[in-house]
Symmetry: C2
Subunit: 194 residues, 2 copies
Amino acid sequence: MSYYQPLARLVAQFSKLPGVGAKTAQRYAYKIINMTPEEVEDFANALVDTKNSIHYCSVCGNYTDGDVCDICATRDKSVICVVKEPKDVIAFEKIKDYNGVYHVLQGTLNPMQGIGVDDIRIKELMGRLVGVKEVIMATNPDIDGEATATYIARLIKPMGIKVTRLASGISMGSDIEYADEVSLSRALADRKEY
Amino acid sequence: MSYYQPLARLVAQFSKLPGVGAKTAQRYAYKIINMTPEEVEDFANALVDTKNSIHYCSVCGNYTDGDVCDICATRDKSVICVVKEPKDVIAFEKIKDYNGVYHVLQGTLNPMQGIGVDDIRIKELMGRLVGVKEVIMATNPDIDGEATATYIARLIKPMGIKVTRLASGISMGSDIEYADEVSLSRALADRKEY
């Protein structure tokens, strides 16, 4: 489409972002064109600087710009919440109920895709269990997530450390009529007494 | 929110894009973090290079990376479609029905905001009317757009050049029940015989 040829390269870049189609990418490109050269320079520098400065926390595997992340440096280390990705840490931090630390696996076991025990950060988790009272398995409630959680729980339980998993069931505010069968059956099995 | 502190600067930049809130900006930032350093470098270069190379076509005022844009260089110059912004050119090019050239005003008259006749590209339009058979006013059908179109039409008509405006009325596929009053009244006034 030659009519936005001059913008094509930038549109192509924005199209790489998740959920961004040609039309949105074009809107973003126009926004960039309407910024001052200084603003565009800042944007470009933020991209490169953030990418270059960020790496994984040497303890928990979350993103950080230091050696050890803020959470590992300041919080209760006797409880570890095990998640798949750095994004999951943000989800937990938002609910503000948790004061322990995290362990980011950076993936889940998936033999079909060749992701085995050594490809995710299980060894690193085992190495930080001294003095830990509880490990909360918070991988996604899907096949890979559940399998990974079960595998890790079996490794840790014999060490006498409490291992828990997140409750699953029907979502708050959802409609039972539309709940998927697995969630509903899980909700029934895990029902609580008043 | 310290948990994504290392990403904060990049999230802030993405939040400047139109329609992008904190959550979307965060998703974009994570995507960048997961790219290779080379990919991020390319993205940053595309931002700066596009911004630096792009400017207005010396004839029509659309964006171009040369002196004269592709449309002005190759198309029928006897018909000029007058639009407010470069984005409008893309909308027209998409319908593929138009083979004339454009004139981008880069704004519309708005005395309240101090945007007068000399602040938009009216003089430039008057300067390119030699040999032109028709000028199509395609500014937005809002107060400023209509006022601007009427003003320009009054300047051009005495020169013996045909001046037209886009038909307005109810949108195709829309529901009369929900049509706004102005569009419906315009549709009634401009009704056509079978």
